[in-house]
């Protein structure tokens, strides 16, 4: 029995207790908190992202308009899925945009053939992306490391080329696939909306609430995507905490040992690849649901690179990181790119003319069309100084604060414990 107490003192208590408490929907401890935080953030996003009153000079930094918010959560889903592959197994795919594109095409085809209800389209998007990623994954996963990345890149570029030219009857080539009035839409009911909808409520339906100088847009499309993202995030947590997730981390850590432990790494990596492909297909389907158009450029390699960037920027292998990374990049793309010389002049107007012009010239390359430059610098800084991404940054800040605030009480507690024993 003395043995037992000794072990609990060594830190096994947490596990023992959490095992008996059951938890919430299969989540425990910090995961529940994380889930609640994500839920609150996504549901309150229209308010949180519009902190500046309309008409104020800072209003251009508001990100709470439906279009951008939809993109936040859709790319969030994409990054969550990518992270299941890259974050857990370490296999860096450079071809995930292909699954995104395939998802978009599938959904638009469902609009063309059935009706504008988004559900069949999303289901097909996930199924087609799964089959497509099974094929690409089966071949690409014969190699690992850089060769795997190159293979996925090659496949994605092939898909892009096919979509752009060869498969024009299916993809409508350069123009992009869209719904025409001449399309059959066999299941279309009379009087149903003429745009993507969920059982009659259109994705564009927006309720604008004005409070004082502020104006908040509550858009149905956004909330639909947000709910899907919360579900996707929940599934990701479950995968991370499952034996399957542990095996995926084992793949990243030591495949040799895995082989000699009687485990076959190949089906594990393939399963992770297909799951992340399905996430990408879902994101693609949602994209087409928000705007019923699918273009080949969605499959280009720059799009694949963007997914990698999002995940690394936020923190690969962490749960929340990829979502943060996706949000940050989309924010930059849409907000920073809008800052032009006129805005800059306005900002620096209080300075003497000469300095004002000089400052505008210096800042100019980093904003507006040059937002990529800022993003690149930021990416460089993060990879150099915060290899764990934004999440690691957050953790470091948190530990600094904790040390300051808790150093006193912690020592007291320890002393009390010692006395009690």
């Amino acid at each position: 029995m003395t043995d037992q107490t000794q072990h609990t003192a060594a830190g096994a208590t947490t596990n023992r207790e959490s095992r008996s408490t059951g938890g919430f929907l299969g989540l425990k401890g910090r995961d529940v908190t994380l889930m609640i935080v994500v839920l609150i953030l996504t549901m309150a996003a229209p308010i949180i992202l519009n902190p500046f009153p309309q008409g104020s000079s800072l209003a251009q930094f508001n990100a709470g308009y439906p279009d951008l918010m939809q993109r936040f959560v859709i790319f969030g889903i994409l990054a969550i899925g990518f992270n299941i592959l890259f974050g857990l197994t370490g296999y860096l795919s450079f071809g995930h945009a292909a699954f995104l594109g395939v998802g978009s095409y599938s959904t638009v085809w469902m609009f063309k053939l059935l009706n504008y209800n988004v559900l069949p389209g999303l289901v097909l998007a996930v199924i087609v992306a799964a089959l497509f990623s099974l094929l690409i994954g089966y071949i690409s996963l014969r190699r690992s490391g850089i060769y795997f990345s190159i293979l996925t890149l090659a496949f994605a570029q092939m898909s892009f080329a096919l979509a752009y030219s060869v498969l024009t009857p299916i993809t409508n080539g350069e123009t992009g696939l869209q719904v025409y009035t001449s399309d059959p839409q066999w299941l279309r009911a009379a009087g149903s909306p003429d745009m993507p909808h969920l059982f009659g409520i259109t994705m564009r339906a927006t309720e604008t609430v004005r409070v004082g100088g502020w104006s908040f847009d509550f858009n149905f499309g956004y909330y639909f995507c947000a709910v899907v993202m919360v579900l996707a995030f929940y599934m990701a947590i479950r995968i991370f905490r499952s034996p399957f997730g542990m095996m995926l981390r084992a793949v990243k850590s030591n495949q040799q040992r895995m082989n000699y432990t009687g485990l076959n790494p190949r089906p594990y990596t393939l399963a992770a690849f297909v799951i992340s492909g399905m996430y990408a297909g879902l994101a693609g389907g949602l994209m087409a649901s928000m705007d019923p158009l699918a273009g080949a450029e969605r499959m280009q390699w720059t799009a694949s690179g963007e997914i990698v960037l999002m995940t690394i920027l936020g923190g690969a292998g962490t749960l929340i990181g990829p979502v943060l990374g996706a949000g940050l990049i989309k924010y930059f793309e849409n907000i920073f790119s809008k800052i032009n010389d006129g805005v800059l002049h306005q900002w620096f107007a209080f300075m003497p003319d000469g300095i004002e012009n000089a400052l505008v010239t210096i800042v100019h390359p980093f904003v507006g069309k040059g937002w990529h430059l800022t993003l690149g610098l930021m990416f460089m800084l993060i990879v150099c100084f915060l290899p764990g991404g934004l999440v690691e940054g957050g953790k470091r800040i948190a530990t600094v604060f904790r040390r300051d605030r808790k150093s006193g009480p912690v020592e007291q507690q320890a002393a009390q414990k010692r006395n009690a024993e």
């Binding site: 299969g26 499952s242 399957f244 030591n254 040992r257 432990t261 009687g262």
Partner: protein, 252 residues
């Protein structure tokens, strides 16, 4: 008839005959040591047993089945576990996870899509892993990330991983290489306890004669890819052929 039967195995790397007509028979629940000077083909032989290499000719039978042509994970599932010369562990995972993985492999086979169960709700596996860690005296270190363990602890962890699969045959490739005397003695003690239970066959490659003579029931001496002699430890000690092979390299 032993649990492991190696017959007429040849392996050639280009112009080098690494293994020449090796015959080996390991009886169930004994400890068989393979010794020999550097380059004798000990590791090549071991690699042929676990599926890392495929011999050019010959047969390797384990428990009545041929292991040739099978993949390493399939051979492991047959009941052969291997401890490597440099510990092969999941360095990024915690000690506890390291031991849980082989428990899962033993229970679920080489692949299972258990994506919606919680790892810590698998009470059977958790208990099994905890018991194993207690057995090797590593329970206090269960939440430590494996890469930060000492060399000796990494070796102990690797053995715990192999043992938690309850293998029929445990292959040990220089388990005490590069260890301090104290760690070596700990390892010998650990292996002796395992051996005392009498439910696992061990096949050990080792340079340290102290280790070999404290554990082995039979010893095969390998030189230039061919077995010179096979006998009980007492007869190996003063064997003239063995002395010749080692050229006084080690005190035999």
């Amino acid at each position: 008839m032993g649990i492991l039967e190696v017959k007429g195995v040849n392996k050639r790397f280009g112009g080098l005959q690494a293994l020449g007509d090796v015959n080996l028979s390991v009886k169930e629940n004994t400890c068989h040591a393979i010794i020999g000077p550097n380059g004798a083909g000990k590791s090549t032989l071991l690699n042929c047993l676990v599926g890392k290499l495929v011999p050019d000719t010959g047969s390797v039978m384990f428990d009545g089945n041929s292991v040739l042509g099978r993949k390493p994970h399939e051979i492991n599932q047959m009941g052969i576990s291997r401890v490597f010369q440099t510990p092969e562990i999941f360095a990024d995972l915690t000690v506890f996870e390291n031991v849980m993985i082989p428990c899962f492999a033993k229970r679920d086979g080489s692949f299972r899509m258990h994506a919606f169960e919680r790892t810590d709700s698998e009470t059977g596996i958790v208990d099994q892993a905890e018991r194993m860690l207690r057995e090797v005296n590593m329970f206090e270190k269960r939440d430590v990330v494996a890469s930060s363990l000492s060399r000796g602890d990494k070796r102990r962890l690797e053995m715990a991983m192999c043992l938690s699969q309850k293998p029929k045959l445990l292959l040990l490739d220089e388990p005490t290489a590069g260890m301090a005397r104290a760690d070596t003695n700990n390892t010998i003690d650990l292996l002796k306890t395992i051996k005392a239970k009498g439910d696992v066959t061990m096949c050990i490659i080792e340079h340290d004669m102290h280790v070999v003579f404290s554990l082995a029931d039979r010893i095969t001496v390998l030189a230039q890819g061919t077995p010179l002699v096979e006998d009980i430890p007492e007869n190996i000690k003063g064997h003239p052929k063995v002395r010749e092979a080692y050229l006084g390299e080690a005190e035999v």
